[in-house]
């Protein structure tokens, strides 16, 4: 089959020239070809498989802080030029940047993807076997497990970026994901549990790192635990966060509001706090797109920048922002390689990749023992934040802490707080840094991006738990 991304360099240059035909500081063409496969099992049968092909090109023109954008599904030279002329509409009669001759760059030698057995090349039957293994493990775990849904997906995204500054870079980004959801029923009561894994990995991951069996059993175990769970308490109390899963808190409370666009626009509560203390000495936060195999990782971002681990908060003091090219230029800072986009139909914006709070010194057991009465967050589902720093996250499974020990399991509750207040109450950080499930997706301005987040066991002296009793 012809490779749709093999477009003569002359046509790429013509597209950039058209993009800058009305002026502008910068023009860029992003070409994408993605193949996505999925398998879905429920009700004891392999119900459906699907194959999706995404092809498209997006052209961007920047004039200072203004963006013009056009996109198309048709990669014929005249259609690319048409999209470029649409993007050019943002500019008018300013002196325009020159299109520099492209020089092909290569991403880092050490690639983030670890795919000994790439999923997109594996036989469908092999992937179906993984789904069945997860399904059967959950279904057979306990007679109270009544329904199971299991799925597997893999994708291979290939991109080509060329810009008016002479950058030309290609990348190939594999991704896999296996998930299992189990529903337990007892006396008319129903609850569900969820588990999964994946990342920029091949099929060997599901043998060496997380087996489908684990996904099925963990999902079933959570659903069964919730059948016995009590209602969450309501009000302010000490909160202890489990390692790994609770990384969502850092993602919401800190990560989003240190994305450069919100700070450049002064809408984020952090915009005037660079170099200032916003949390306890315990709080050191990084975002690292270069962690091998992780779901949030990439070799180059969606505007061709090679990313690096970025320090956001150091011992409670704000040290850095997640930059894309536009914000970096306007703020006169170096880009950090966090310009990401969902696909060709969107322009890149600053996004998180793999965000985590660094390990501390405390023994996790000791942290738990220091709480006589409080709430333990075991598993989370996601959260949301607004620019004022108010954020929530949803706990799917928690425990009561009584006398320094976990007692009754607790069902769904939302926790709410203001980020700077909560960071100031982050009293103890454990030495047990872990990452959560490699299945997460983050949404911002209508664009989805795969992410991961992590944290050690942590104690917050006081936070509002939104239970009902």
């Amino acid at each position: 089959m012809n490779d749709p991304l093999l477009i003569p360099r002359e046509d790429l240059k013509k597209t950039l020239a058209a993009a800058l035909s009305r002026g502008g500081d910068f023009a860029e063409l992003f070409l994408e070809h993605r193949v996505y496969n999925s398998i879905y099992m429920e009700e004891d049968i392999l119900k459906e498989t699907s194959e999706t092909i995404v092809i498209g090109a997006g052209v961007r023109v920047l004039v200072r802080d203004q963006t013009g954008y056009g996109y198309t599904n048709d990669l014929a030279p005249d259609k690319l030029v048409k999209a470029a002329l649409t993007a050019a509409a943002i500019a008018s009669t300013r002196p325009r940047a020159k299109v520099l001759p492209p020089r092909e760059r290569h991403g880092p030698r050490r690639r983030v993807a670890e795919t000994a057995r790439p999923a997109h090349r594996a036989a469908l039957a092999r992937k179906i076997a993984l789904v069945k293994e997860a399904y059967d493990a959950a279904r057979g775990f306990d007679p109270r497990i009544k329904k199971v849904k299991a799925g597997f997906s893999d994708s291979l995204q290939r991109i080509l970026i060329i810009n008016s500054e002479g950058l030309l870079i290609r990348d190939e980004r594999p991704m896999t994901k296996l998930t299992c959801l189990a529903i337990a029923e007892k006396n008319g009561l129903r609850e569900y549990g969820y588990w999964g894994g994946g990342g920029r990995v091949g099929l060997e991951y599901f043998r060496d790192v997380m087996t489908p069996r684990t996904a099925g059993e963990e999902a079933a175990r959570e659903a069964l635990l919730l059948l016995e769970a009590v209602d969450a308490p309501a009000g302010e109390m000490p909160v202890v966060l489990s390692p790994g899963h609770s990384g969502v808190l850092i993602h919401e409370a800190v990560g989003h509001l240190l994305e450069a666009d919100f700070n450049r626009k002064k809408t984020s509560i952090f915009w005037n706090k660079m170099g200032r203390r916003v949390g306890t000495e315990q709080v050191t936060i990084y975002d690292d797109p270069t962690i091998p195999a992780y779901r949030g990782s990439y070799d180059v971002d969606d505007e061709g920048t090679v990313p690096r681990r970025t320090l956001l908060i150091e011992r409670g003091v704000v040290r850095g922002l997640l930059q894309d090219r536009l914000s970096a230029r306007l703020m006169k800072r170096p880009p950090t390689g966090h310009g990401r986009r969902q696909d060709y139909s969107h322009w890149p914006i600053p996004r998180m990749a793999n965000t985590y709070i660094d390990r501390g010194e405390y023994d996790p057991e000791e942290i738990l023992r220091s709480v006589s009465k409080g709430f333990y967050v075991a598993r989370l589902q996601g959260g949301q934040v607004e620019d004022s720093g108010k954020f929530t996250f949803s706990v799917s499974l928690g425990y009561l802490i009584e006398g320094g020990r976990l007692t009754a399991p607790v069902k769904q509750a939302t926790l709410i707080g203001s980020n700077i207040e909560v960071l100031g109450r982050l009293e103890k950080v454990g030495a047990d840094l872990e990452f959560g499930l490699q299945t997460g997706t983050c949404g911002k301005e209508g664009q989805e991006a795969p992410v991961a987040d992590g944290c050690p066991t942590m104690k917050i002296t006081r936070m509002t738990v939104g239970g009902r009793t």
């Binding site: 089959m1 392999l46 498989t49 996109y71 529903i183 129903r190 139909s345 509750a413 939104g466 239970g467």
Partner: protein
Amino acid sequence: MSGQRGPDDLRLLAERLVELARRAGADEVEVGVGEGTEFNVDVRLGRVENLVEAGSRVLGLRVVKDKRTATASSSDLSWQTLSRLVRNAVRRAELANRDEFAGLAPLSATHVDPLALNLHDPEIRTLDAATKVRLALETERVARADKRITNSHGASFITNEAWTMLANSNGFRGEYEQTYCGLGVSLQAGGTDDRVEDSWFSSKRRFRELASPEEIARTAVARTVRQLKPRKVATQRVPVIFEPTQTAWLLGFLFSCANGVAVYQRASFLADKLGQRIGNERVTVIDDALLPGGLGSRPFDSDGLPSGRHVVVENGVLRNFLCNIYAARKLGLPSTGSADGTGVSPANFFLQPGTRTPGEIIASTKRGLLLVRTLGHGLNSITGDISRGAFGLWIEDGEIAFPVSEVTICGNLGELLETVEDVGNDLEFYGAIAGPTVKVAEMTVAGA
């Protein structure tokens, strides 16, 4: 239609793919094609920030062979790619398990005239970019003229025009055009460390029906500044009044529980409750795909079945689950023509309004929370549990006393529906899911 191929080519393409799939061994095949154009302008602080214009197409297909299903979709509409996808799909179908409920919907004798639904406004195509930019600029300008507004996320004007067609091997052929336009602004008030924010928008199928920049800006400003200087209240159980925007998400949650797919999967707390009382007599919920000009209106669903009007809850009794053909077969119920891709989506899903004004409902509340905004997800359709971050206005003795923030609301949808105390007369469609002001007897508000 301003597409790159034009609908004639796309119709022909769909026909050829149906034929090809049949020849390749599929018993049944369905091909859907969408083509659309998008325009979007974002302005911020009086200048254009982003300007987007584009056209896109996508084709989706489903094949069934020996009651085994495979699906595919592509934005590459070259014959080479599509014919390979079709052959792959037929081969992949053989790897799925036999499913006696699989298969296309039979051809229906009923036909809904798309033109009668008033889904398409030809004026939208004629709007020039300058007009659209001006509307967005004007909306933000009016809003920022208010001194209490300290920053802006910007204003946006969006238009979409789309053409949808569906062809299947049972002989169904259908197509329709639709338009959408939206204008909105998102604001901040207060200083960096005591900031509040909110937004307002108008979205319609017809340009002339869109609210004016002044009206949108005024509403956005009022919604934002009323939250200034909030307090956190003590944890307590109080009545909660949902503003229409909040009733809308509550109804969206009810939809996800009345969704036939969730029901056969037993992923809904309503799964065993068809025909039973799930709320009090004040609760009547309708899904009407035939509302002229409705944002959720459509002549047929993605199974090729005609749309209709369905009572979901009637005076508190659960009357219908919303089903695609597959969920309908699984549940032994008729399809409600709600298929959307591989799942189910609401058409115009709304709560029947009552008679009292929102003002009267507030005045009759001794103490409670008027809910104006929520943060986070916290909805569990399997249990009906609700737990979300909340922003609101505290009510004391029938009057708004002060804004509240950083609290959560917690309850259960089943309990809320049973304890609806009042339904307002202020039903207006801001989207496909809509409801008037609703007061429920009690929820836990967790705060200090």
